[in-house]
Amino acid sequence: MVEVALTRAARPPAERRRLVAEPRVAMAGGFLLAVALIAVFAPWIAPKNPLEQDLMSASLPPAGFADAAPGFWLGTDDLGRDVLSRLVFGARIALTVSLISATLAGFVGSALGLAAGFYKGIVDKVVSRLVEIWMAFPPVLLSVLLVAVMGSGVVSVIAAIAVIDWTRFCRVVRTETQAQAARDFAMAAQAIGFSRAHILWREILPNVAPVIVALLSLEMGVAVVVEAILSFVGLSVSSDTPTWGGMIAEGRQVLHESWWVLVFPLAALFATVLAFNLLGAGLKRVLDPVMRR
């Protein structure tokens, strides 16, 4: 029985290989890694200054089309700014915001979810009621509200996203914690006399971790979109900094004349969200059956 209680989720090296071997993780992970690298090395990768306006070269189509100018691979917008460079820099905001806000939301949501699922009783009731009220708000409206309240800027955007989406983590983690707590090894541990906190930390958490990790990836996908929406309505970072959402908004204005200004940031957003989702699904597939021995 002691062995049963002490059987925690150990991660033998063989599993790490499996992690990468899962096609979804490999593809999506690879793509996101590439995006991350692009974002980090943006100043060196971007061919032009993203803020530089060149009215002489305004509204040029991307390379390969008639009237395209050399050097502007993806064309320019109506102020003559290089789309490719803005796209590359936009990745910085997208990834930074999504990473930090998702982690924050995950932290808060998981902590509350674990507490609610494990300690039950009044803790569970309070947390559940809180989640319910929180979810009665349209998420977009709430985020807009929060950013309006806190003023624009990266910090507010991150905070806003985290504040809104922690409920996603909370609900799933709570259910998962309840399931794990009801399993034999947890009860055995209690019988042996481990303190509740110890059980939560050493026994339950490692088995809930895979769910949290998969959810994190999903959340980052959501966060990228929320940031895009916020910058679309002009509430994100200052309008100087290039963001995908901002580019989409601009692109919409000039849709009929220069469709490329909308297409590329939209495609980038599309691909990134897909990648995060794919990664999350793949991670879940790999980590789940292993943990549920």
Binding site: A136, F137, L146, I229, F232, R252, F270, F276, A281
Partner: protein, 329 residues
Amino acid sequence: MQRLALSAVTLLGVGIVVFVLLRVAPGDPVSMMISPSATPADVAALRAHYGLDRPLATQFGLWLFAALRLDFGDSISLRRHVLELLGERFPATLELAFAAFAFGALGGGLVAVAGTLARGSALEAALDFVNGLFLAVPDFVWAMTLVLLIGVAFPILPLSGRIDPAFASDFVTPFYLIESAVRWNGAALRDLLAHMAMPALALGLPLAAVIARTLKEALSEAMVQDYILLARLKGKSELRLVLQEALRNALGPTLSLTGVQLTFMIGGTVIVERIFAYPGVGALAIDAVVNRDLPLIQGVALAFGALFILINLTVDLATARLDPRQAHG
């Protein structure tokens, strides 16, 4: 009954949160409305008019009492009764949500049934894969993609508004869709649906993806039960089995997840309506926030909150009725 009481509490919670948030916010609604030449006395008068100089608790109390009488005050930025504004726009959003839901349920249902019938085949794998992709894409991205496609590539449908102004005067109620259907105004109906198509699609696709996945899982689980085997032995075809026998058992678990997704979808109207300039409640929301239009924001938040709670209640009730163990104990 207990559920209703809890819902009321939730709604109150929503009201409080919005109220507090807005009051705490930097940025004064009044300062947005006044002209540069106004004197401090004018500003003070305006603030007093809107009750912004009273203590927080008093403000909330006043607002609450008024709200219970359904008096939500006047919109600061649009200078109209909030209730009136909501009354005009809520039906539009409801109809849009209904259209999106119909599309999502039908589309998702079809995909789920097809996937269940194709169990174990390559078709099922393909459907699952595509479904997974659709699950990942949020309504905002769909909306912009549709704008791109229909705006540039295939301009066959209108991209903004609810109805051609030529038809607008035909209506008595704000429920254009219902009215034109009931009165059999074909041209208006077609026009309405054409305008609704893109936003409904943008909203409905994520819903369809969720329904497709959840329903298919539930159906697949039902299909391996013994009673299906017995029904098969009676000679029923696969399609009949899925529709007549499995579906009833699969609807229950699907419903609760669908309900959650529905609330997300409604929340999405905030951005989708804006993108397509569809005159619903959502379209008001963002501008209201940017303009710090407190009464309007509160009204909109409450409207959404009430709708969410309504959906949750309906889903709860429906789930209880669908499970014969609960319904006919």
